[in-house]
Amino acid sequence: MIDILLAIPIAAVICLLLFGSIDFFWKLPKTGGVSGANAIEKAIENTGGDKNGGWMIGNIVTSPDASAGTLLAACGFYIWGIPGAIISIVLVFAGARICADKGYAGTSGAFAAAIVIWLLTTFAGFPPESFIVACIIAILFVQGISTKYASRIIGKIWRKLS
C-alpha cells in the first residue's frame, strides 16, 4: 500500500488527465450545453477569461460532467467496491438527465474512473480514499483558484487539440 500523502498528488494528476480528456472527447469546451452555461461563459469572458474555457467551466457547473463522474465513482468504490461504483454510474446517468444534459460525459467519466480506480487500488496499492481527495484537489485547480487563468489554459489546450 502506497503512503496516502504520496498517493494523493499522483492520483490528482491522474484524475485531472482522466476527466480533462473525457470532457474534451465530449467537446465540452466547444459550446454551452444549456443557457446557464452560456451565461457563465459570458461572465468569465467579460472579466478577461477565455471563451472555450468559459464554456467548459459553465458546462461543469451546470450538469454532472466527467469530473463529477470521477468523484462519485471514487466515492462509490471507497464505500462498497465495484457494486458501489456501479450504483454511482447509474445514479450519475440519472443525475445528468435530471439536469437536462443530453450528453454522456458524466456517465462515461464515472465508468472510466471506476475502471482506473479499480486497477490502481488492486494492482498499484493506491488507497481508495486518495482518489476522492485527489478529484477534489483537481477540480479546485480548475474552478476554485482563478476562473480567468484556468479558462485561458483550458482554451489554449482545446484550440491546440482541435
Binding site: 446557464g36 457563465i40 459570458k42 451546470t62 464505500i79 476522492i132 478529484c135 477534489i136 477540480i139 476562473t147
Partner: protein, 79 residues
Amino acid sequence: MIVEGICVVIAIYCALRAVFERNTLKKLPFLNAMNFAVTGAIVLLMPHPITIGVAIAYFVGSTLESNAIASTIASWEEQ
C-alpha cells in the same frame, strides 16, 4: 483524519471565495468546487452503503440549483 481534513479545508476556502466574489455567476464555479469537497467529506465521514445515494443526491441537487440560478440570470439578460 488527513483526507477528511483536506476536504473540509477546501470546502471552507471555496465557501469564503464564493462569499467574497461580487458577480453572482462567478460565484457558481466556487460553489461547484465547494460541493465537490462537501460530497467527499460526507462519504469519508460516514462510510455506509446508503451514503452513496445521499452523496449523489446532494451533488446532483446542488448542480441542479446552480443550473437553475444560471438559467434564470440568462433569461433575465435576454429580456
